[in-house]
Amino acid sequence: MSQPVLEARAVSKHFPVRTGTGRTAVVRAVEDADLVLRPGRIVALVGESGSGKTTLARLLARFYPPTTGEIRLRGEPVQGKDRAYYRDVQLIFQDPFGSLNPLHRVRYNLDRALRLHHGIRAKAERERRMVELLERVSLTPAEQYLDKFPHELSGGQRQRVVIARALAVEPKVLLGDEPISMLDVSIRLEMLNLLDKLRTEDGLALLYITHDIASARYLCDDIVVMYAGRMVEGGPKEDVIAAPQHPYTKLLIESSPDPERGLDDRDALFDEAADDLGEPPSLIDPPAGCQFHPRCPFALDVCRTEVPPRTELPNGQWTHCWLHQEGRAGDLTAAGAARSTEKENS
């Protein structure tokens, strides 16, 4: 496996906030997270809203320094000027409507990127590079797009411009924070295909953040699941989806719409979800032990007090769950396997 380009090692991010009583508290947005991005590989980060995905991406993009832990670029802890760092790492935002300044033409965006990072003086040269960039993101004929304003472009086209702008820097790592969730359903796949192309053609390392586990499976190589600021499980995508090793991953996969499950007995399909699991925990005052224990059907006593350590599985999968430490992983897989075999047979 290739060397990691970008790594997060045991990073945490705590945001100080003012609570109602006027005292300051901290939001533990990310707690003790590890992440490795390698050239030519795509890691998907899934988790529900507020689980800290964006925070982690922004930590990797050096929007703010981690509270603890460190970010390493090519094995070196990062320091110094942001601009040098941004030559290697670029972030793509969720909202293609928001990440382009409506007052600037496409040309301006690309031009600034080229000037800032490559210092190209010659106008013709920059022009050539811009056209090239737009062609790489399949905006053709490129010349026609250069002088458009964002509002003259559709959502998909805008997101392509955003990607082109990020690519202008010639980064090694691309962080995509839900890059398709605001796009129309019908054009999402094109965007995923574009990202996939960039990965294979340019050997970019990609972080793909999403809510949608199905699209994660479509695009990525590895999946990492976050819950309430912590990473609960990760590993090769098919393994994680076929055999989730954490109760939360299991719940997430089961809750995702999947028409293939069969449409015959609809009520039965939903029935298992009917029992109320409650809400995700507050990050200001997270539950002790495993964050998931209040909602976990398998919760043990130890789950309520101790943070579960990492369990590595032979297939590269890993999880933070006491079931594994206590030798009761079977509880989980038994139920999961039963279901998935059932599916395969049908």
Binding site: R18, G20, T21, G22
Partner: protein
Amino acid sequence: MRASRRWAFLVRRLGFYLAAAAAAVALNFLLPRLMPGDPSSAIVEELERVSGQQVPAETLMSIRAIFGNPSDNLAEQFVDYLRQLGHFDLGVSVVNFPVPVADLVWQALPWTLLLVGTTTVAAFAIGTLLGVVAGWKAGSRFDALLTPFTTFLSSVPYFWVALLALWVFGFVLGWTPLSGGYDADLPQGFSFAYAVSVLHHGALPAATIIISAFGGWLLGMRNMTVTTVREDYVLLAQAKGLSPGRVMLRYAARNAMLPSFTGFAMALGGVVGGALLTEIVFSYPGIGYLLYEALQKRDYPMMQGVFLLITLAVLLANLVADLAYVVLDPRIRARG
């Protein structure tokens, strides 16, 4: 949790107003000292003008003993100043020497409170109410006529409206008195005739302040209502089949009103300033007229006293507006 949040908000606001009051006091202290000239010299000049003679050195000394010596250490002066304020001692009026400024201010305060206080509240109420209706029926003929008209009203200088009103109602029609707070030939006191007289004198100034002030509230409220009416919860309230009046008041207006209270701070200073000018037109015996006279006669201690009082009163009114806000808005967001 909920209660504590509100308290926290209030405590924070109270802290802010205390800081603002402190700043106002400091400003009040510094203003005359930053400006060219100083109160002592001013009083000396006044004396020279009256007596037509140069003031002897001894006189100068004794005046400085009263009004502070500009060559004294600033910190010491400030301590003295604070000590004086602690006793509600705003100094001595120059032109009315040796009458304390505080006495004069006390004397004028009730009139201003009566006039400005009631009209500000009335203008706010009327403006808000009409604004809700205009916003609710946005695009209707009512709105199309009322809104530009109030735009006009809100742009007219207070004193000009006052002048016009005085001319039409006081002079041409003779319905209202031309000046003063009550009929001079009535004994001042708690009698019916006196009360009627006070109302008779106050009606026109009050009306002009209301006319000049309500437009601003109306326009703000109208736009807020228009925006609020498009909120989902108003749509849902209509979907629930509630009566239009109920939807308008409990759902749209109730929410649209909240920013008005935050905007109160911005507008209040202007309204008070305008009302002060109105007092001058009507020779109304309030704080505004006092300030006018102080300005005319360069009575610095008086100017300072009046300004301090106005500022503190406005701060207090803002605090009240914030209190109202706390009562009205269950979500107290963290705000500066």
